[in-house]
């Protein structure tokens, strides 16, 4: 007889160990990490008890890196090497960055994603973000007392493929296993919806430090369905600060500023903005390094006046998202306000006026995204408790298309399609004997390729020479549950295939990431080899467990021969798992995966049948 297992109070009684999973809100201004502890989602504080980590990274000459409050303190002393709001640069080229001339950084003149010249060398936004993620990972591992199984990282819903890929790359460099990239408003909806048992149509209005998202969701028992999303990935609290900054310069008639003075004024502008959320006016007094004095009074009226166009810029995508969802404001049951910038009174007023109802402010707008991400991470990691069974259906924010003749865009996947999604499009050659074809993938809503973001360019070669129009090339777009795209092209008559992992034009190559990983590990205390081996062992253990549990549940789906084949694969993997030959582990994993492919397909098929059978029973009982 089996022994009864009795758990310590507060500990899970489940036979499986509790896997350590976190949700990370990688914000423009502040970042947070949260986890589910005893069934409750909580933000993990730093040792001083502070929940927020300012998203500021400061590089020093000796190669040391300061992240958070320490870095923040250096921003007006060493602005060139202290990077704030790096999220605005993720997956972006120089031309994409607003007010680049007012930024104190030295940008390296390169194609593709921007690079910043610092005292510690040239840094990409991906590496800088990885420093923030590493700090949060360390905080979480120290606080939870173990290595993380995985993390859900949130991204603005309106992030395009390049920005999402950059975020995922940053997480890889930080040594995090990304369970899912989750859209910020969707994360907020999970936290809000589960907390309030909300049902109906909700809008999530998320104005952060540097990004704006609006998502329209339908919440019904156990399902969070995003109906439409919109936004502006370069609009946030920073822009409101910038308006105040420009107003100060204009009012005080200041001479051109040094980088230090510029940063100082930016900080004062932000403080004044925050003060206006509580009071009707905010004094701004600064003594600049140049010897000049600033002594001004900013009132709510002036602030509202100088930011009117910014507020308007949030309402346009909001109306568009409602139209895309096929809804009007009367259909919306509540508006969940997310992001510190929604504290500004003019935003509150504008939202209330548009929706003809007061927005919901009953949760902390700065924590709700991280809390929701933690809840999803807990679910994805497999720590499912009874009743924890919801389904999240998200969408792709921007249309995907291909360049056709004349620089026009042929839309292949329309915006607001539920993901994962795949679409295929057929093309043909336009010259006799043509053997290659260039394919340009773009993202955006405009009709001209030049107005959309180019995601990738690739060539399909080896098309058999035929008369013009005879070849049939089928291009398939697959967008996965992270909202990331892969493209395959296939010549139908010959079967010639080109599989393309879409590496965005503004992304990093695998080689670059490998180098960064190596750099990152050589600075860290643990060595790269041991860590990689450990990861392979964890992955292998996971595969063995998954296989055994599948065999336990559905052995009846296999013939004796098939069963023996899979058992053999498990035994082979078990034989190498504790050794230190990582390649042997990888190889045994590949073999076992291949051996279980068909089994997995049959199990999935069976579970679909069960789902349908369940539906019919439901209907009969009605």
């Amino acid at each position: 007889m089996a022994l009864l297992q009795i758990a310590e109070p507060g500990e899970s009684a489940a036979p499986h160990e509790h896997r350590l999973a976190v949700g990370i809100d990688l914000g423009t201004t502040n970042s947070l990490v949260a986890t589910v502890r005893s069934g409750m989602s909580v933000v993990l504080n730093d040792v001083q008890g502070r929940p927020m980590l300012p998203s500021v990274v400061s590089y020093a000459a000796d190669g040391s890196v300061d992240v958070g409050y320490g870095a923040e303190a250096k921003q007006s002393i060493d602005p060139k090497n202290t990077i704030i709001s790096v999220k605005r640069f993720m997956g972006r080229g120089r031309r994409d960055i607003a007010h680049i001339e007012t930024l104190p950084y030295d940008f390296v003149d390169t194609e593709g994603m921007v690079k910043l010249k610092t005292i510690a060398g040239n840094k990409t936004p991906v590496e800088i973000s990885a420093e923030i993620l590493k700090t949060l990972r360390n905080r979480a591992e120290a606080s939870l007392g173990g290595e993380l199984t995985g993390a859900v990282i949130t991204v603005p819903a309106y992030f395009d493929d390049a920005q999402r890929q950059a975020t995922k790359d940053a997480a890889r460099i930080a040594g995090l296993n990304v369970l899912r990239l989750l859209n910020e408003p969707t994360a907020a909806a999970i936290a809000y919806g589960l907390d309030n048992s909300a049902e109906g149509i909700y809008a999530v209005f998320d104005l952060g430090g540097g990004t704006f998202d609006i998502s329209i969701l339908r919440l019904s028992k156990g399902v969070f369905e995003v109906m439409a999303t919109g936004g502006d990935s370069a609009l946030g609290g920073d822009d409101f600060d910038h308006r105040i900054f420009c107003w100060i310069i204009e009012q005080a008639k200041l001479a051109p500023l040094s980088p230090q003075d510029a940063r100082l004024l930016q900080m004062r502008a932000r403080e004044a903005k925050e003060q206006l959320s509580q009071h009707g006016q905010a004094p701004i007094t600064v003594k600049l390094g140049s010897g000049e004095y600033v002594d001004l009074m900013l009132t709510t009226e002036i602030f509202t006046d100088i930011t009117r166009t910014l507020v308007q810029k949030t309402l346009v995508p909001t109306k568009k998202a409602l139209r895309d969802a096929g809804l009007t404001v009367v259909d919306v049951r509540g508006i969940v306000m997310v992001g510190g910038s929604t504290r500004m009174p003019q935003i509150q007023h504008a939202v209330a006026e548009l929706f003809k109802q007061e927005p919901l402010n009953n949760l902390d707008p700065e924590k709700v995204v991280a809390l929701g991400a933690a809840i999803q991470a807990n679910l994805l990691a497999g720590n499912r408790a009874a009743g924890d069974d919801w389904l999240l259906l998200d969408v792709i924010p921007l249309s995907l298309g291909l360049e056709t003749m004349g620089g026009l865009v042929e839309k292949v996947v329309p915006r607001n399609s539920t993901i994962p999604i795949a679409r295929a499009q057929e093309f043909t050659t336009f010259k006799d004997g043509q053997t290659a074809m260039a394919i340009q993938v773009v993202q955006g809503e405009r009709e001209l390729v030049s107005d959309c973001r180019s995601l990738a360019r690739f060539e399909l070669r080896g098309i058999p020479p035929m008369v013009a129009g005879a070849a049939r090339i089928r291009v398939t777009f697959q967008v996965d549950a992270d909202g990331l795209l892969s493209v395959t092209a296939r010549e139908q008559t010959s079967g010639h295939e080109a599989r393309v992992e879409v590496k965005p034009s503004y992304g990093l190559s695998d080689d670059e990431i490998a180098t960064m990983l190596k750099d990152s590990f050589s600075h860290a205390s643990d060595d790269a080899f041991r860590r990689a081996l450990k990861e392979a062992q964890v992955e292998a253990q996971r595969l063995i467990e998954a296989t055994q549990s599948a065999l336990h549940e559905d052995a009846s789906l296999l013939s004796t021969l098939e069963r023996a084949h899979i058992d053999g694969g498990v035994a082979k993997l078990q034989a190498v798992i504790m050794g230190d030959d990582r390649r042997a582990i990888d190889e045994a994993m590949r073999d076992l995966s291949a051996a279980t492919n068909e089994f997995a397909a049959r199990r999935m098929n069976q579970s679909v049948k069960r789902a349908l059978a369940g539906r019919k029973i439901d209907q009969l009982s009605l």
Binding site: I421, M604, N605
Partner: protein
């Protein structure tokens, strides 16, 4: 061929256990969609082996595609007519009744004028008028396919509706331009 492949290749109606018809119980459709997604969605397999995750993505993609097709009355009609062997030949057949074309041109002119005048209210008015027309025609379409089984007339109506839906997106674009 495995049993899995057979099911994966099933038509959209069979997949959701629904009768092949243009008038369709949206609640049953959503119920089936959610029941299947609850099994196959990648989030349900995030911790599984690579091959399981890939399969989950393929299945979830397949189910999303089927759902999107059946949910929209226009896509549903095109798909159904295709299944019934009466492809509406959207690309090749562009013949439309004259009075329909005239009314569409009038609407289009109204949209262009409202856009030029940045008249949001006028665009909203045209939009709701068009939405109303489309709704009535979809009711007629269900009748043609399910009751009278006049597939030729149904295919003609599908082509007209595509025309109108295109105009609807033009209005949305105009609204976006006007409110920006």
């Amino acid at each position: 061929m495995t049993t899995f492949d057979l099911n994966f290749a099933a038509d959209h109606f069979t997949l959701f256990g629904l009768p092949r018809a243009q008038s369709l119980d949206l609640e049953s459709l959503e119920h089936s969609f959610r029941a299947i997604q609850a099994q196959v969605h990648p989030d349900k397999h995030a911790h599984a082996a690579d091959s399981d995750r890939r399969l989950a993505m393929q299945w979830a993609t397949r189910v999303n595609e089927a759902f999107q097709t059946l949910k929209s009355p226009g896509k549903r009609a095109r798909y159904l007519l295709h299944l019934l062997g009466h492809d509406p030949q959207i690309e090749s057949n562009t013949a439309m009744p004259v009075e329909f074309l005239v009314s569409q041109m009038e609407l289009r002119e109204a949209v262009m004028e409202a856009r030029a005048a940045s008249d949001e209210a006028a665009l909203d008015a045209v939009r709701s008028r068009l939405l109303n027309e489309i709704r009535v025609e979809y009711e007629r379409l269900a009748e043609l396919i399910d009751m009278t089984k006049d597939f030729i007339a149904a295919a003609n109506l599908v082509r007209q509706l595509m025309f109108q839906e295109k105009l609807l997106t033009e209005i949305d674009d105009a609204l976006e331009a006007v409110t920006a």
